[in-house]
């Protein structure tokens, strides 16, 4: 029932707000929460419990407990006691079959108890094993919280915002504000975070984030703060935690009945929302502040039947109700008929953020609470979170009666905890995992102290010996959308990307790059390369300039093949190895002048190669610089028998075979753009790789495309390179592959004094080859799967790394790792294809143009 207007109330009675609950209209005022508007309208049952589907009503009214979680505008698990009411909101109950008043699953409470003890799902329903998915589906639908719509689309936006401050104060109560003002007075930039909406103006000189919740304290003073749909990432030099203390429920039979509330609920209902919480009340409390709630109740017109100070010794308490709603409470054998019990077992410091930051937590025997100790550097605590003014009482010995709940979130009863201890789960950390106590939405706010105490009592140890569970972020539940942030992925695009899209290319990811898979017909694109000329964007290749008086020495040391003797204007293939002799990357090295080399890497290996180069030169300290020019330079490959003819009119470089030989590098202009031309080829045909400044990407591409060259994507490129048996690092090799067994012994110059990985490759040479990367040709035309097995005598003997059907060759070809003894031309191997085995012939020479005549033409 709504009271007459009161000074200080948060609601604005001049501004009505309407929303629906379960399809029925609810009226409230601006300033109401959804929960307060529902309560004012007479609603008392707000949810059904996690496991037993017992009715639950408002308990804390401050966003700490699980009792008021509902679905609001499609978002599940919203605590409506703190969620502002807004016009047109659609509010629904969750985790019910039927309605909140008549939930079919409530049968679990009446009949399921003996069959659903703590951890029952670890023991029952596990056989037959095949039926577990069915059981699991049933259990998940029967228990739990709200439902996420797996097909829901992103609604609204969530943002992340960064803040830097000298001081971050978490908690805007009196102690927090006092600390904040003091810091601000000394000229520091102070940010205050508070869970409650500010009353009136923000304190002068302070930046206030409210209503907002600090989710954790991470290294480096990073504190994520959830504020509606914005996640603030605050970094502060100093953090002051003023999170106060949490009222603790009293543990007694029937302690979850609707109508049993914490004092804070009464404070908020009466003072903030001007609502009479109940008609007849009993107050059970263990501190003066809580006992004073009786005055608030009387002020609101509630008849207070009894006020019990729990500090005067343990009291035997038991509540009873009808259909889950309180109708009376017994205290020391005296029964009081009432619809409201305000119960508080005292206040426990809300130390979780401090514990996350690294503080130790110890039990204070005198106060009966856990308090933080040994705070880490730059973290301070003020107010009742330190233990100041707090204290709590131990629960009385249990009476017979209704269920006694230790954990309301997970429906863990006193009996469950005892049973877990009897089964050997005798530490609080094990109990947490087995019973799930403290693992629910309240994150131990209302159940941690009670469960530790119960463990202490049942195992006859002190609370300090039992200890606390580990505090981990997030301290409060947070919407997944807030953690996800904006839907952006930092993908790389070449300067020719939009031309590919305009030409209808299907794009694919290669590492962090977007590249054309094909332009619609991979086979036709491959055919064009063989018959006329094709054009592919290879701007994604890593590109480095290695420059300095000792650049040649560096390359000589880092690669297994020779570069000191490479002449300016010439190119050499380069395979990079680790110090363990494993293949790391490959590419080409072109010598620009005596002191300058232009190195290319694979598209996905660029960053790794640069780090590798810099790491080694940090040791060698050679006089050179390594500059990454990957993004600065675009590159395209024009390949095919007509490549020379098509490129000629666009460039001032003499392309005649004698003037521009295979593995030559030339410079000149292509379409008016300064270009480095490399005569190399990955696809087995006469080819020119053109490297030029990225801002001219579209200009050069357009000019080449206008000659009639056919754009081709990665898929036709993979067919073409396979025909030449060119190895794709990372596809045909893995972290164990070395150049010798990958059939590239010619790349390793053992006669060099030293190179990275030399000792390891010498070891391979000494022990002999075990496996070899070879080509294979299918005998029946079927294409084996990449990663498929090479089978010998019914056992796994190797694996297929690449396989494609080559239209040019009219058969399926591929590369595979096989045992050394099978690495013989024409040897028969067996490959697993689908469910069966297929025969293939080993090939050691390229399938297409084995002499390389077309490439060198």
């Amino acid at each position: 029932m709504r009271l007459d207007p009161r000074p200080g109330e948060r609601i604005d009675r001049s501004e009505p707000i309407r929303f629906t609950f379960e399809g029925k209209l609810v009226e409230g005022f601006a300033g109401d929460t959804i929960g307060s508007a529902l309560y004012a309208g007479g609603r008392r049952v707000f949810s059904r419990s996690f496991k037993y589907h017992r009715p639950r009503g408002l308990l804390c009214c401050s966003g700490a407990c699980p009792n008021c979680m509902m679905e609001v505008d499609g978002v599940p698990n919203v605590r409506v006691c703190v969620a502002p009411a807004h016009e047109g909101a659609v509010v629904k109950a969750q985790n019910v079959r039927g309605s909140l008043e008549r939930d079919l699953m409530a049968a679990t409470d009446k009949f399921g108890g003996p069959f659903t003890p703590v951890g029952f799902y670890y023991r029952t329903m596990i056989r037959p094993r095949a039926a577990w998915p069915l059981f699991e589906k049933f259990l998940r639908s029967a228990a739990g919280l709200g439902t996420i719509d797996k097909h829901a689309r992103r609604t609204g936006r969530y943002d992340v915002e960064h803040r830097h401050a000298d001081v971050l104060v978490i908690g805007g109560g009196s102690a927090g504000l006092e600390a904040a003002r003091a810091a601000a007075a000394s000229g520091e930039h102070v940010v205050v975070v508070d869970e409650n909406a500010p009353r009136g103006d923000a304190p002068g000189g302070l930046e206030l984030l409210a209503p907002a919740t600090a989710l954790g304290i991470y290294e480096g003073g990073l504190v994520p703060v959830a504020a509606g749909r914005i996640l603030y990432k605050v970094r502060a030099k100093r953090i002051v935690v003023a999170t106060g203390a949490l009222e603790q429920p009293v543990i007694f039979p029937g302690n979850d009945l609707v109508g049993i509330v914490l004092p804070e609920a009464v404070r908020r209902l009466v003072h903030d929302f001007s609502i009479r919480p109940g008609e007849k009340a009993v107050v059970l409390a263990a501190d003066d502040d809580a006992l004073a709630i009786a005055d608030d109740l009387r002020d609101a017109g509630t008849q207070v039947l009894e006020v019990v100070d729990l500090r005067n010794g343990p009291h035997r308490i038991s509540a009873s109700g009808t259909k889950g709603r309180l109708n009376g409470v017994g205290v020391e054998g005296v029964r009081y008929n009432c619809d409201l019990v305000v119960a508080s077992g005292g206040r426990q410091p809300a130390y979780s953020l401090l514990a996350q930051a690294g503080a130790t937590v110890a039990y204070d025997e005198g106060r009966g609470v856990f308090v933080p100790r040994d705070l880490p550097a730059n973290v301070e605590a003020v107010g009742s979170v330190t233990g100041e003014g707090t204290g709590s009482i131990a629960p009385a010995k249990t009476l017979l009666g209704d269920k006694t709940f230790v954990c309301l979130c997970e429906d863990v009863t006193e009996k469950d905890v005892k049973r877990a201890i009897a089964e050997g789960f005798d530490s609080i950390e094990l109990a947490k995992r087995y019973t799930t106590v403290t693992m629910g939405p309240c994150q131990g706010r209302l159940c941690h102290l009670a469960s530790v105490r119960m463990y202490a009592r049942e195992t006859k140890q002190g609370e300090d010996a039992i200890g606390t569970t580990t505090a981990r972020p997030p301290w409060s539940p947070v919407e997944l959308g807030l953690l996800a942030g904006r839907p952006h992925e930092p993908g790389k695009r070449t300067s020719i990307h939009h031309r590919h899209k305009e030409a209808g290319a299907t794009m694919m990811w290669t590492g962090s790059w977007r590249r054309p898979h094909s332009y619609g017909d991979p086979a036709a694109e491959a055919r064009a390369v063989h018959e006329s000329a094709g054009l592919i964007d290879v701007s994604t290749l890593g590109k480095l300039v290695v420059r300095g008086p000792e650049a040649a020495v560096f390359l000589e040391r880092i690669y297994p093949n020779r570069f000191a003797d490479l002449k300016p204007g010439r190119i050499r293939y380069a395979v990079l190895g680790t110090d363990g002799g494993r293949i790391m990357d490959d590419g080409t090295v072109a010598r620009i002048d005596d002191e300058t080399f232009y190195v290319t890497t694979t598209s996905t290996g660029a960053e790794g190669v640069i780090e590798w180069f810099e790491w080694w030169n940090a040791i060698w300290k050679l006089d050179l610089s390594i500059v990454d020019v990957t993004g600065a330079v675009a590159a395209v490959n024009l390949a095919g028998p007509q490549a020379r003819e098509l490129l000629g009119p666009l460039t001032d470089v003499d392309l005649a075979p004698d003037a521009f030989k295979y593995l030559d590098a030339k410079q000149g202009k292509v379409a008016g753009v300064p270009t480095l031309l490399l005569r190399i080829g990955f696809v087995g045909e006469l080819g020119y790789e053109l490297h030029f400044p990225s801002p001219h990407g579209e200009t050069v591409w357009d000019a080449l495309a206008a000659t009639g060259a056919t754009p081709f994507g990665l898929e036709p490129q993979r067919i073409l390179r396979l025909e030449k048996m060119h190895v794709l690092i990372g596809q045909d090799t893995d972290s164990e592959s070395n150049a010798l067994e990958a059939s590239m012994p010619w790349i390793v110059k053992f006669e060099k004094d030293e190179f990275v990985g030399k000792w390891a490759l010498e070891h391979v040479q000494e022990r002999g080859m075990r496996d070899r990367l070879v080509g294979f040709e299918m005998q029946n035309g079927s294409v084996p799967p990449e990663g498929g097995a090479v089978v010998r005598d019914g056992r796994l003997a190797g694996r297929v790394t690449s396989a494609r059907f080559s239209e040019q060759l009219g058969r399926a070809i591929g590369l595979a790792w096989v045992p050394e003894e099978l690495a013989v031309e024409d040897a028969d191997i067996t490959l697993r294809v689908s469910a069966g085995l297929e025969r293939a012939k080993v090939r050691l020479r390229p399938f297409f143009d084995p002499e390389g005549e077309r490439l060198r033409s």
Binding site: H162, H488, P674, P695, T699
Partner: protein, 160 residues
């Protein structure tokens, strides 16, 4: 036959270069700096070589970015090389844009904005941030141009 590194310099091209941000920022009102500034990646001590009309951003004791007018990059590179400073024309490798206000920057980066110039993640992309009052110039690798354009516009939309 010796070659040169001219193929790194977009300003030496006869056709007009195209900004990598041209599409992303079209009609957005955000200033595209990509073709305003040339970028030299310089190794060596620049303190003894006063240069007019350029900005030097020291990334480490041995490495600096030199920002100059776009067309001046090849000439400036030669000038530096003649004075023993190894410089690479990296103009084609960077895109740049200018945004106004701390609010949008706070949505993009955790860098402390009172300590610019700085290098760090802006929208998860390594970026050089230069501050002039309430204006921020951001330079990042050109292959992220579409992404960064989209990211900045989205951040502005979130603040609108």
């Amino acid at each position: 036959m010796s070659l040169s590194l001219d193929f790194l310099s977009p300003a030496l091209g006869e056709p007009a270069p195209r900004s990598p941000l041209a599409r992303a920022l079209a009609r957005s009102g955000i200033r595209d700096l990509s073709l305003d500034y040339g970028v030299l990646d310089a190794r060596g001590d620049l303190t003894g070589h006063p240069m007019e009309g350029v900005e030097v951003v020291r990334l480490s004791p041995e490495r600096s970015f030199v920002l100059c007018p776009y067309r001046d990059a090849p000439g400036l590179r030669e000038w530096l090389e003649g004075r023993g400073v190894a410089a690479i024309d990296a103009s084609g490798g960077y895109a740049g844009l200018e945004v106004e206000g701390e609010a949008v920057m706070r949505r993009l980066t955790e860098l402390p904005l009172d300590r610019c110039p700085a290098v760090g993640a802006v929208g998860h992309v390594a970026t050089l941030v230069l501050r002039d009052g309430d204006r921020f110039r951001l330079f990042f690798r050109q292959e992220y141009a579409d992404y960064m354009g989209e990211r900045v516009l989205d951040a502005l939309e979130g603040l609108a």
